[in-house]
Symmetry: C2
Subunit: 274 residues, 2 copies
């Protein structure tokens, strides 16, 4: 039984969908350039409002690289009319009063808003992020320590399975092909599809999933789904992994230790015999 | 220079703030019970609408445990009036048409909405989550493979530094105390504070940060911040870690290998002498 106090003190972590949406970014400095990158990643259009002399080199780079996705306005925020048809607002300017005023307008218009460095004016916070293709990971310390969030992010990057992003892409592709083969939303077939996908993901290594191509996916569905089983990677044509080298770095230490032990003992016997 | 195509295809990962907000959850089954847990964690009030015979045991448990935080209505969703003063809507019911209708009403009222299992009716998705106190991590595969998201979540749980949540709590506390000692938003003092906090987090091990108490935090500020330096853990009173055991499990294998080598060599010499 959980303690009543345990379920509190956090945020609701979400993957917000911005495809086809328009995001207003006010400010063009260092922080704003990071926001631009996040918003482009999420497939939204951007309206950027910032005087030209406040643009960070990275912001300028994005303006040059994505001229059709970013509409740039070389001026300061001018009021409510700047919020027409906007789905989200991110501000990153040094003027605290101006920031709070923008937040106020957004709240009236029910537009989600983030004001950099002023937590009470934020409907949501950002966190440290990892990305590998369709895989996205966010680390939030709920505003307590961005630096520790970064340290933890690097730790996570190191321990992520190799090919994780690729494996996810291929599993997504397998799932789509399976839906074509056995269509239907929900119900019995939906549950059976879900169970079989879980079985495949559990039985296979990330690396083997990542190696799937269209032919192998077809064979996996023919020999697996159709027969109610999970074939091995080899059965559908996943190339075998190279044999583990007998003298890989992992084996050198015990071998050296064994030899050292043998030499010590030999030296002992040799010296004793003299 | 990044490829133009690289910045696309993702979501915007966010830590949504719900303190003092009200979330409407429609449905009371298994999925809804998970939503209830996430929303309680984020400090929001909940209005739960679901006929009593559709309540999952976990949902019932939450209703009993959190009677003041969840307002329960034993009926189905009745229309626009149920959305009054609601800040977010999550639905998890089997009726696809009813779900889509609720989504439509939310979009008109500009209320963020998630409809379980119907991605086009979602303003945001959920992901696999890890929590350790103030530390929250979300793993999203952008809907491609929830199972792989779970496998990656377990991998991340294993590789997280021990005491990470505790370390973040203590660093948050250090930062608050530092702000009392050297107040001011932004400007030169703000930058100096940020730099010093980064230096402390970089120099100290997670375990030592987690061991900080109020007295040590006061000493860290007196002997560190005030003198423009970063004291060691020992200097402010963090107890030393126990010495690494000479025959810890990590050492047993090389010791055994050495002994085995010595014995083999001894046997060889002994046998040869006969």
């Amino acid at each position: 039984m959980k303690d009543n106090n345990e379920l509190s003190g956090g945020s609701l972590l979400l993957a917000w969908q911005l495809k086809g949406k328009t995001v207003l970014i006010v400010g063009g400095g260092d922080v704003a350039s990071g926001r631009i990158e996040s918003i482009l990643t999420a497939d939204a259009s951007i309206i950027l409002i910032s005087p030209n002399d406040g643009l960070h080199p990275r912001t300028k780079h994005f303006l040059e690289q994505y001229p059709t996705r970013i509409t740039y306005k070389d001026r300061i925020f001018s009021g409510e009319q700047d919020l027409a048809n906007i789905d989200m607002v991110l501000t990153a300017v040094d003027d605290v009063e101006a920031s709070r005023a923008i937040c106020q307008l957004c709240r009236q218009a029910k537009i989600p808003v983030n004001v950099a460095d002023i937590p009470p004016s934020c409907d949501f916070y950002f966190g440290s992020q990892v990305r590998d293709g369709p895989l996205q990971i966010m680390i939030s310390t709920n505003g307590q320590s961005p630096k520790l969030a970064n340290i933890i992010r690097r730790r996570i990057e190191k321990c992520l399975p190799e090919h994780a992003g690729e494996a996810i892409t291929k599993v997504g592709s397998l799932r789509n092909k399976l839906k074509e083969r056995a269509p239907g939303v929900g119900g019995e077939v939906g549950k059976r599809r879900m169970r079989w996908m879980i079985d495949v993901c559990t039985a296979w290594e990330m690396e083997d999933l990542a190696a799937l191509d269209d032919d192998m996916i077809a064979r996996l569905i023919d020999d697996g789904w159709e027969k109610g089983r999970v074939p091995s990677g080899a059965e559908v044509g996943v190339p075998p992994k190279g044999p583990v080298a007998a003298t890989g770095p992992g084996n050198l230490v015990p071998i050296a230790t064994f030899v050292f032990g043998a030499l010590c003992s030999a030296a002992f016997f040799t010296l004793r015999r003299r």
